[in-house]
Amino acid sequence: MKITIRRNQKPVEYKLPFKSTTLLKALYHIKSYQDATLTFDSNCRSGVCGACAVRVNGKEVLACAYPIESGDIIEPLRYHPLQRDLKVDKTQAIKTLKTSTAWLHQSQETTISSEQVKLTEKQSDCILCHSCYSACPVLEVNPNFIGPFALTRAYRYTSDPREADIKTTIDNIQTNGIWDCTLCGECTEVCPQGIDPKMDITMLRSTASQFGYSDPNFQAMDFGFGGGF
């Protein structure tokens, strides 16, 4: 079996003695027995730490959960500064969690039902692998876009019955936030946890409208009537 790894922009081909295995095992094999300089991130091997996300044939996957096929082309995630080979710097992207202030601002004591937990059960399965961030086409044109994982997390906390101050988070995701999303669904497609950030962003828009916010793109449109009608 042969796979190609894009190492610092340059494609390098590797022959592997496997019929079938996960990409992570293949990467370890290369590092241990073929080329110790190959650089990538990983830790848990079981799809829960989020460290090993890469792109295979143009689609984001977790290396530990992806069964390789001959001819696969492996690349690092997009929209993250490249450190080396498949290892990227995630500190910039992770700052979106701070920008969106995705946490409980004012935690109140309240009864939470099983149904209420279920509402954001998926959202809190997020492993911060950054696959959705790398798949998001908005980040190509707007590097300041808060992006899918931080918005999903913002939704998860604003929907939590314990949150007594929903407005602060909603305020903080207006600029470069919920209205910048094109609802294309690329994020949803690549999420290894089956989370649907597109839907979460739609829900956040609806909550935002309850606080008097509206789509700035819609306001900017004049529908050919020369501004306002």
Partner: protein
């Protein structure tokens, strides 16, 4: 001057950071990878607290179960303190926003785990650790706690006083020293010495424990390693105990049950190992749950079994084997969690031996320990900060700079340490595993010493100064050797069977060994002695 340097970004480190910050201390958290990639994320089953939300329970029963599982090697005061604090720990996590599952009465849902006399483990599906860890991380962001990615090389200890630590900055290749009034080590366990035969993350290489040894501190009970009965056969990936807690069966090739699935982990692991040695394959059977129940209780397990074993647990048996899962031994600490032999240095979580789990840990107590004791150590360290700022001599920094430099200049990589690490992982599993034998343990110890004597022929092939994971892997390998040597030796000197430590030649608990095994280094040589457990 920084008050508290916390090394380790898992649940214990982040809990300590949040609590120390609340006490008004300045804190810096340093870890070798991003916080949310840490081992805590892999904890599935739950976190114990005698809330009695589902079945009647009491703190007394929680204490009694924990003590029973420890087989005499616990400090009952520490156990009592942790079990009494459990309700507060859950309340705190609830305030922070952890989305625990609920009962129909809207209280926190609790499930059965092995060795527990009640449904005691609070859970969030089988993602309990993941959701706790991420919530702690979100709260660290909220509290503006600074977190840095650096790899621990050594503690800075002068005249028995801890003053900080030296790190490798992997992004630049620089060796950096961070000075602080107090240091909290929360670096996790050493399960990765059982490479390819452990549920643990590859990074569980016991870096903090090895650094304490090198700095003159003490470690204890290192022979006690818990083997989890149910890991996927080919990948060693964990299938949570909750699968059995909820009513899953263990069956052999004839589809016959052979053990009470809810006995403590060591008993179940030995029963499985015995089936395997008789030529049987062993499976976990959850088919009778039905698809809906399975997906609602254990979505992660279903996903993992499909991805890594290629089977669907809804209709098929899950092939399993027992593998190393949790390391009870670790840095020897006193009741205030200060490291035995190192002043102003604390240790918490799996890296430490706070004498809670003893010879065998109860499921659901590890998450409780990192939260309860993590918060506590943040408080203790804050309230006992040394008055004077430490003055240092830079000796350790220079030593570490020289060593790292020598790896770039001198070590030839004639021996491939990756290969040795894989071989050693298998040997640890076979010889320091579920059943142990002194001849085999001595062979293992010799093997480790031969490798250690050959270190000069190993080293790194990758000579890049930046983002050099080959260098990090090698440094972790050195820690594995330091720790592995003590695991083997401590298993040899304990000629009895107790909890997770089982020798066929000495199948019973011996009162003479009702003692903690203590290890330390003196001028490079390993020293040890047993310390009798004092009954309260």
């Amino acid at each position: 001057m920084l008050d508290i340097l916390i090394i380790g970004t898992g649940g214990a480190g982040l809990s300590a950071a949040l609590s120390a910050k609340e006490q008004g201390s300045t804190v810096l958290v340093v870890g070798k990878s991003h916080p949310t990639t840490s081992q805590t994320a892999m904890a599935q089953g739950g976190i114990n607290a005698a809330l009695g939300n589902v079945t009647p329970d009491s703190i007394q029963s929680h204490i009694a179960d924990t003590i029973q599982s420890a087989h005499g090697l616990c400090d009952e005061n520490m156990v009592k303190q942790m079990c009494e604090d459990a309700t507060h720990s859950i309340k705190w996590l609830e305030e922070l926003g952890v989305p625990f599952d609920r009962t129909p009465n809207a209280t926190v849902a609790q499930r059965q785990l092995g060795g527990a006399s009640s449904k005691r483990a609070c859970y969030a599906q089988d993602y309990t650790g993941l959701k706790i860890l991420h919530t702690l991380y979100d709260n660290c962001l909220k509290e503006a706690i600074e977190i840095k990615e650096l790899f621990l090389l050594n503690l800075v200890v002068e005249d028995g006083v801890t003053k900080g630590a030296v790190f490798l900055d992997t992004s630049t290749g620089e060796i950096k020293q961070i000075i602080a009034k107090s240091v909290i080590i929360a670096t996790g366990g050493y399960g990765a010495i059982y490479k390819n035969y452990t549920t643990n993350a590859d990074a569980s290489t016991g870096d903090g424990i090895a650094s304490v040894l090198r700095a003159g501190g003490r470690v204890s009970d290192m022979e006690f390693v818990q083997f989890h009965p149910t890991a996927l056969r080919h990948s060693s990936i964990l299938i949570s105990e909750s699968a059995r807690g909820e009513g899953g069966y263990l069956v052999n090739s004839k589809e016959e049950r052979f053990v009470d699935e809810l006995l403590p982990r060591d008993v179940v692991a030995r029963a499985i190992a015995s089936q395997i040695s008789q030529g049987e394959d062993v499976f976990l059977d959850v088919r009778h749950f039905g698809e809906e129940k399975l997906l609602s209780l254990m979505p992660q397990e279903v996903h993992l079994a499909k991805t890594h074993e290629g089977i669907d647990p809804v209709t098929e048996l899950i092939p399993i084997k027992p593998v190393a899962h949790y390391t009870m031994g670790g840095i020897d600490v006193n009741r205030t969690l200060e490291v035995n032999g190192l002043k102003n240095c604390y240790a918490v979580g799996e890296c430490s031996n706070a004498k809670i789990h003893g010879a065998n840990r109860l499921g659901g107590n590890s998450l409780l320990e990192i939260i309860s004791l993590g918060r506590q150590v943040g408080k203790i360290a804050s309230q006992n900060l040394p008055k004077e700022e430490p003055k240092i001599r830079d000796t350790q920094l220079q030593k570490d700079k020289e060593f790292i430099e020598s790896l770039f200049e001198e070590y030839p990589f004639e021996q491939n340490f990756y290969q040795l690490e894989n071989n050693l992982g298998e040997k640890f599993y076979k010889y320091a595993g579920i059943t142990r034998d002194n001849n085999q343990l001595n062979n293992l110890l010799n093997k480790i010493r031969v490798i250690k004597a050959d270190i000069d022929n190993m080293g790194i092939k990758d000579k890049s100064r930046v983002h050099n994971t080959n260098l990090v892997d090698f440094l972790q390998f050195l820690n594995i050797l330091d720790i592995g040597e003590i695991v083997a030796e401590s298993a040899i000197i304990r000629d009895e069977s107790r909890g997770a430590h089982y020798k066929e030649a000495f199948p019973k608990e011996e009162s003479g060994y009702l003692a903690h095994s203590l290890f330390w280094l003196e001028e490079g040589a390993i020293q040890n002695r047993f310390e009798k457990v004092v009954k309260q």
